[in-house]
C-alpha cells in the first residue's frame, strides 16, 4: 500500500478519534467559539474627507451612540468610503490611522499663553486670548499701517504682522480668513502652497 502523506494524516486522525472512543466518553465538553461581534453595528456613520494629502479620499467615521441628547459622541473608528470614486474604500497608512489623529494625546484643548522669557504655558480663557491678541494686533496695525508711500501712492497695507493660513482647513475657513486678512491690509500672507 502506497502511504502518501495525506493518507498518513488521515490514518492519524482516525487513530485520534479511535483512541478517544476507547476512552469512553472521557471527552471534554465543546468550548464556545464565536467570532468577535462586529463592533460598528449600531454606531453612527458620518461622511468626511481625509485631511492629509490632496487625493481627497472619502472616509466614513463611526461614532459612539446615536446622537441622542444624553450621549456624548466619540469617534471610535474610521475607514474608507467605498462609494468614493477615487479611493473606493481604500486608505493609505496615514488615512487608515486618522482615528489616532483625532484622539492624539497632543491635541490642544484650551487656549494658552507663554509670556516673554517664560518657560511654561499658562492656561487662559478664550476671551482673554482674543482680547490680548486683538489688542496687540490693533496696536501694531495702528502704529505701522502704510496708507500712502513716501511718493504719495495709496497702498493701504500692513506689513508688520504676517499670517500663515492652513491648507488643511476648509474652503470656508480659508475664505473667511482671506477676507479678514485682506480687510486688515496684510500682504505677508501665505499658505502651504508656497512650500
Amino acid at each position: 500500500m502506497q502511504v502518501t502523506r495525506r493518507r498518513f494524516f488521515r490514518v492519524c486522525a482516525n487513530g485520534v478519534a479511535g483512541s478517544s472512543l476507547a476512552l469512553m466518553g472521557f471527552s471534554p465538553g465543546e468550548a464556545l467559539a464565536e467570532t468577535r461581534h462586529f463592533k460598528l453595528t449600531r454606531s453612527t456613520e458620518t461622511r468626511n474627507t481625509c485631511p492629509y494629502c490632496s487625493v481627497g479620499c472619502g472616509i466614513l467615521m463611526y461614532s459612539l451612540g446615536d446622537r441622542s441628547k444624553n450621549v456624548r459622541s466619540r469617534i471610535i473608528h474610521i475607514e474608507g468610503d467605498p462609494d468614493h470614486p477615487v479611493n473606493r474604500g481604500t486608505l493609505c497608512p496615514k488615512g487608515a490611522g486618522l482615528l489616532d489623529f483625532v484622539h492624539s494625546p497632543n491635541r490642544l484643548t484650551h487656549p494658552e499663553v507663554r509670556e516673554p522669557g517664560g518657560k511654561e504655558w499658562k492656561r487662559i480663557g478664550w476671551d482673554e486670548a482674543f482680547d490680548r491678541i486683538t489688542k496687540l494686533m490693533k496696536d501694531d496695525r495702528d502704529a505701522n499701517f502704510i496708507a500712502k508711500t513716501d511718493d504719495g501712492l495709496t497702498v493701504n497695507r500692513w506689513l508688520t504682522t504676517g499670517f500663515l493660513a492652513a491648507s488643511a482647513s476648509s474652503n470656508e475657513s480659508g475664505y473667511v480668513t482671506h477676507k479678514v486678512v485682506r480687510a486688515l491690509g496684510m500682504t505677508a500672507f501665505d499658505n502651504q502652497a508656497r512650500v
Binding site: S20, F26, P28
Partner: protein, 210 residues
C-alpha cells in the same frame, strides 16, 4: 512506629519523603501533561484550576521533580549498579512474571528489573527535563530554532508516555509483590519478604549466611 522488632528497615524517613515528593510531582506532571497531550485527557487540567493553571504549573512542577529526582538518584544510584546476577535475573524475568521465582538468582537490595527501571526512569527524567525546558514557551522556546523545539516536543511526548508506562509497571510491581508498598509507607519490610525477594540483602541485613 515499629510494628515488629523483627522487621527490616528498607528506607529511611527522608528517603521515603524524597520518593513521595517525586511521586507526587510525577502524578501531577502526568495528569497535566496528559491534558496537553491528548484532548481526551484535557479535563484533567481542571484538577489544576483549568488549562492556564495547568500550563503555568506543569513546567514548575517539572523543575521540582527534576530537583528531587536528582536527590533521589544521588541516594540510590550506587545501589542500582548492574551486576552479572542482575543480567541473569533479567534473562529469567519472564519466569518471574509467570509467578515462578524458584530459579531466579539471589538478589541484593534491588533486583535486575528494579535497577533497569531506575536507569530507564533516570533517562526519562533527564530527557523530559531538557526537552521540557526547550518547549517552555515563556522562557526558552523563543531562543531556540523552531526545528529543535518541534523535536523537543515530540521527544517530550514520547518519553513522557514511556515514563508513565514505566511508572505504571513500577506501581504495579509494588502492588503485585505483596508486602512491598509498606517499605515506602513506613520504611520496613518483613524478614520473610526480604528473604523471599532479596535474599542477598536479607543476609546482609541479618548477618545470616543462608
Amino acid at each position: 512506629m515499629i510494628r515488629d522488632p523483627q522487621d527490616l528497615r528498607r528506607y529511611t524517613a527522608s528517603q521515603r519523603v524524597n520518593h513521595w515528593i517525586v511521586g507526587m510531582c510525577f502524578i501531577l506532571l502526568a495528569f497535566s501533561g496528559l491534558a496537553f497531550f491528548h484532548p481526551a485527557f484535557f479535563p484533567l487540567a481542571m484538577l489544576f484550576g483549568g488549562g492556564v493553571w495547568a500550563r503555568i504549573l506543569h513546567p514548575l512542577i517539572g523543575v521540582a521533580m527534576a530537583v528531587f529526582f536528582t536527590l533521589l538518584a544521588l541516594r540510590f544510584w550506587r545501589l542500582n549498579m548492574m551486576t552479572a546476577t542482575d543480567l541473569e535475573w533479567l534473562k529469567r524475568a519472564r519466569e518471574m512474571m509467570d509467578g515462578d521465582d524458584h530459579n531466579m538468582p539471589i538478589q541484593g537490595k534491588y533486583n535486575g528489573g528494579q535497577k533497569a527501571l531506575f536507569w530507564a526512569v533516570l533517562v526519562c527524567v533527564l530527557v523530559l527535563f531538557v526537552s521540557g525546558l526547550a518547549i517552555w514557551r515563556e522562557y526558552f522556546s523563543a531562543l531556540l530554532p523552531i526545528g529543535l523545539v518541534r523535536f523537543a516536543s515530540l521527544l517530550h511526548a514520547v518519553f513522557a508516555s514511556l515514563m508513565i508506562a514505566l511508572i505504571t509497571v513500577h506501581v504495579y510491581a509494588a502492588i503485585w509483590v505483596k508486602g512491598t508498598i509498606r517499605a515506602m509507607w513506613y520504611g520496613t519490610v518483613t524478614r520473610a519478604w526480604a528473604k523471599q525477594h532479596h535474599a542477598a540483602w536479607y543476609r546482609e541485613m541479618t548477618g545470616r549466611k543462608s
